[in-house]
């Protein structure tokens, strides 16, 4: 996908650049002025491509320091057990969102840990937990190729971005000269809360109109063994 986007940006950028150079040139009276007009767009494009590649590195040099600071602090939070503390705090809400996942099932724990890690912005730690959660949800699913309501709800929460402090955005604001990089904390928090509520509501509404695949919920409650994944 990004291959298409990238080539379109480059091709349109340069071709429309050629077009604007020629149309500039047509409006000029003398031969020299026309040559100058054609040259100027070309030199703009050249300069811009150099400037942008240097900018990418310069921004990242400062970004290294900020990310080192933040991920260092977050690593301490992780070691101190704050991820599981946050997960425990959320478990009453989660049980209501996932009525067909028994609260003692490992799927619930993995989902809670994934969402808690995402809330703290620990992307690297969150992904393996999320994949584990999906595998656990799949064990309760009888039709393995079809997603359950619980999977969709989990992903709706996960992809609505639940990060409490979008530190990476704040860091890039700081590296590009913002006078108050952290000013976006409150508005971004409101926006992300609304997007999460919106995602959950949408998932609940869609659930009403389609039949979920059969699951092992009742078997699990009755204490029967559930066939393990292949």
């Amino acid at each position: 996908m990004m291959n298409h986007v990238w080539i379109i940006l480059i091709v349109l950028g340069v071709i429309i650049g050629i077009y604007s150079a020629t149309s500039d040139a047509i409006h000029e009276k003398t031969f020299e002025a026309r040559i100058e007009a054609i040259k100027s767009v070309g030199s703009d494009l050249t300069q811009k491509s150099f400037e942008m590649s240097q900018l990418a590195v310069n921004i990242c040099i400062e970004y290294i320091g900020l990310m080192a600071l933040w991920l260092g602090i977050m690593k301490i939070a992780q070691e101190a057990g704050l991820v599981s503390a946050l997960a425990r705090l959320m478990s009453p809400v989660m049980r209501r969102l996932f009525p067909r996942i028994p609260s003692e099932h490992p799927a619930m724990g993995a989902m809670l840990m994934n969402i808690a890690a995402n809330m703290m912005g620990l992307d690297n730690a969150a992904t393996p937990l999320g994949l584990k959660a999906m595998k656990e949800l799949q064990t309760l699913n009888k039709e393995k190729a079809v997603s359950t309501n619980a999977m969709v709800m989990f992903l709706a929460i996960n992809t609505s971005s639940v990060t409490l402090i979008p530190f990476s955005v704040i860091a890039f604001r700081a590296t590009t000269g913002s006078v108050n990089p952290q000013a976006i904390l409150a508005p971004a928090f409101i926006a992300t809360a609304l997007s999460t509520i919106g995602g959950i509501t949408a998932a609940r509404l869609f659930q009403k109109f389609s039949k979920p695949p059969a699951d092992y919920y009742d078997d699990h409650l009755a204490g029967k063994a559930i066939p393990k994944d292949e």
């Binding site: 349109l12 950028g13 767009v41 491509s49 690593k75 992780q78 999320g130 393995k144 955005v169 409101i190």
Partner: protein, 183 residues
């Protein structure tokens, strides 16, 4: 009343990060975590994360730079303006909205280009910050998570997740308009 609330939020935003640093380190220290060593370990991870994004950022920033300085961006903005004006969205935000669910590195590059071109504290820059902070790389996450367990029929996952993203984007635009920014 409203201004008291805003002052509180203002003060809180300024103190938020130092207080988080204090409470996490102190809590961890009391729980016998080797705070200094663990910090360095996490900071190494941060170093790697930041260095790894450089090549992606070069790719995106150069492409978008060519697109803007060849005046293709002007053409694009004049085409989409009638639509984005409906919710008072600056036209430069629209590409970010389309790329955001598809590519994390692409969206990051577009956000930085908006910061560079309009400034991080401009209206465009603030909206871009809020969108980046309130949405996710939805299609990528769905592909990885469903792919890992072999689910082929995702049912209502795509529309439900995209609705969450769209609400986050519209909310970002509206909140940034009514927010009493103070710099």
């Amino acid at each position: 009343m409203a201004s008291t609330l805003m002052t509180t939020i203002d003060v809180f935003s300024q103190w938020c990060i130092p207080l988080i640093i204090l409470s996490i380190t102190l809590y961890a220290y009391c729980r016998k975590v080797k705070v200094y060593e663990v910090f360095v370990e996490g900071a190494k991870e941060g170093f790697n994360v930041a260095v790894m994004i450089i090549p992606y950022l070069v790719a995106i920033l150069v492409a978008i730079g060519l697109f803007r300085s060849g005046r293709a961006m002007d053409v694009f903005e004049s085409i989409v303006k009638p639509v984005t004006n409906l919710i008072n969205m600056p036209p430069s935000i629209l590409p970010l909205c389309f790329i955001r669910p598809l590519s994390g590195s692409g969206a990051r590059g577009l956000m930085i280009e908006i910061f560079k071109e309009h400034g991080p504290d401009s209206f465009d820059g603030l909206i871009a910050s809020c969108i980046q902070g309130s949405t996710e790389t939805t299609f990528y996450v769905l592909a990885v998570y469903f792919g890992a367990v072999g689910v082929r029929n995702s049912r209502h996952a795509v529309p439900a997740c995209l609705i969450g993203d769209i609400i986050g984007m519209i909310a970002s635009v509206l909140i940034c308009q009514i927010w009493p920014w103070r710099f």
